[in-house]
Symmetry: C2
Subunit: 232 residues, 2 copies
DNA sequence: CATATTAATTGATAATTATCAAGCGAAAGT
DNA sequence: ACTTTCGCTTGATAATTATCAATTAATATG
């Protein structure tokens, strides 16, 4: 593990207030690994042996049932994943695979739980993180149950636009087949839905999206902070 | 607030390990109220002034967007709701209404946050609770994205059967129109889906469900602990 | 650079799910 | 007991979404 890795990990809200003693204790058993793309890091149902931390690259969290598969979320640096399973010492509910070449820190779950038991501030930091995650999933579920696929796509574009700086031209942040899966639709449907949004001033060329009529798209998408805001 | 209320609240894992001092501090500003059915207790988007605790009755958590509405979950005694909003001091993501005559404790959010800051054990109890909630929503999302409405209904019946003791005859635990909303379908569709499950040995009479061919239903529903188990 | 592979698109069709309208039936109120 | 209300059901139809097959575009590989 490099010194810069340590520094990066320290950045995260989760470890910010940790005493140096406890932080060292956590890092003692931790190790860093570089993975090529498309490597399955964890499989749902397995015991949660490590808390994972993404230093660089990107990780897809997905789930399967009865031969079907769906992308649940994408984890980007710098953040952890499967914190809830680690803390509860419960099996993973989702599988994870690298989307790109990724640098991942693996922290033994038992160490995390030990520091959690010993350090109230760490426990409080975990609360903040979990509450955030919980609210994100609630928002995702609201979107799934209240919006059609075209509406989900429109709102996704608006969120993506905002994150990219708010300008009329921006890039999709992952390939369309996974975007389709994240939005709960098939790739074919996404392709047609993107065409359908042409009526509202959306033009797509490969990964590049241009929103020519912002008002029109806004009026159709009806974004709502209680579904679309990352903050709240 | 009655002495028995205090006792009931103490039962909950969240408050179990709290010192008497901290528990009293929490209860000092709390008050209990009895509500008739169909009363809106909180509205999504409002600031989270109180942590709510259901002593008896039942509460529906629901959300709206663009004139549509969906039931997200049902809270039954003894448990809290909107813990995440309280802790993050963020607006509610869901509205809540009583389903039946209900007895609810309201604990000022600022008091909860104060004890949370002062008491590491309380923070740890909140972690356990939030991690549990998080995992429940993840399971719900997996179910929504991976299963058709007929499959969701079949698995709901199996879960309900298990909870009712596992026998072949049991009762639905809420009215069909809300069940439909919880399962992400229309009441009309639920009605037809219940008929569709006759092929798999399910008979419904009002709220009473009879599963005559368990093997057949199991084979169709394909329940999975990573979606259907309340525990894990 | 040519070729192999994979992703994206398109068309045709089927399955799923929702909407609208009407009727039935149980429960609540008078 | 009567009526009113509301939830549930059923039928007909429409909208949404998925599947299958084929083609095109883009990317990777030797």
């Amino acid at each position: 593990m490099l010194a810069s890795d340590n520094h990066d990990i320290r950045q995260l809200g989760l470890f910010e207030k940790l005493s140096d003693t406890h932080f060292s204790a956590l890092m003692r058993g931790a190790y860093v690994q570089n993975f090529p793309p498309q490597i399955e890091l964890i499989t749902e149902g397995e015991p949660s042996d490590f808390l994972h931390f993404v230093l660089s690259g990107a990780v897809d969290l997905f789930s399967s049932w009865n031969g079907r598969e769906t992308s649940m979320a994408t984890v980007r640096p710098l953040s952890t994943f499967i914190l809830a399973a680690t803390i509860r010492n419960a099996p993973y509910l989702m599988s994870a695979r690298t989307l790109e070449k990724s640098r991942i820190v693996l922290i033994p779950s038992q160490d995390v739980r030990a520091i959690f038991d010993a350090d109230g501030d760490f426990a409080r930091a975990i609360v903040a993180e979990l509450a955030q995650c919980y609210r994100s999933v609630i928002k995702a579920q609201k979107e799934l149950k209240l919006r059609t696929s075209l509406e989900r796509l429109a709102n996704y574009l608006l969120r993506q636009q905002k994150q990219a700086g708010g300008g009329p031209v921006f890039e999709l942040d992952f390939e369309k087949r996974r975007l389709a899966s994240v939005l709960g639709m098939t790739p074919e449907n996404l392709s047609r839905a993107l065409k359908g949004l042409q009526h509202y001033g959306v033009a797509v060329d490969g990964m590049r999206v241009t929103i020519s009529d912002q008002t029109d798209l806004d009026r159709f998408a009806k974004p709502n902070p209680l579904i679309d805001d990352f903050r709240t």
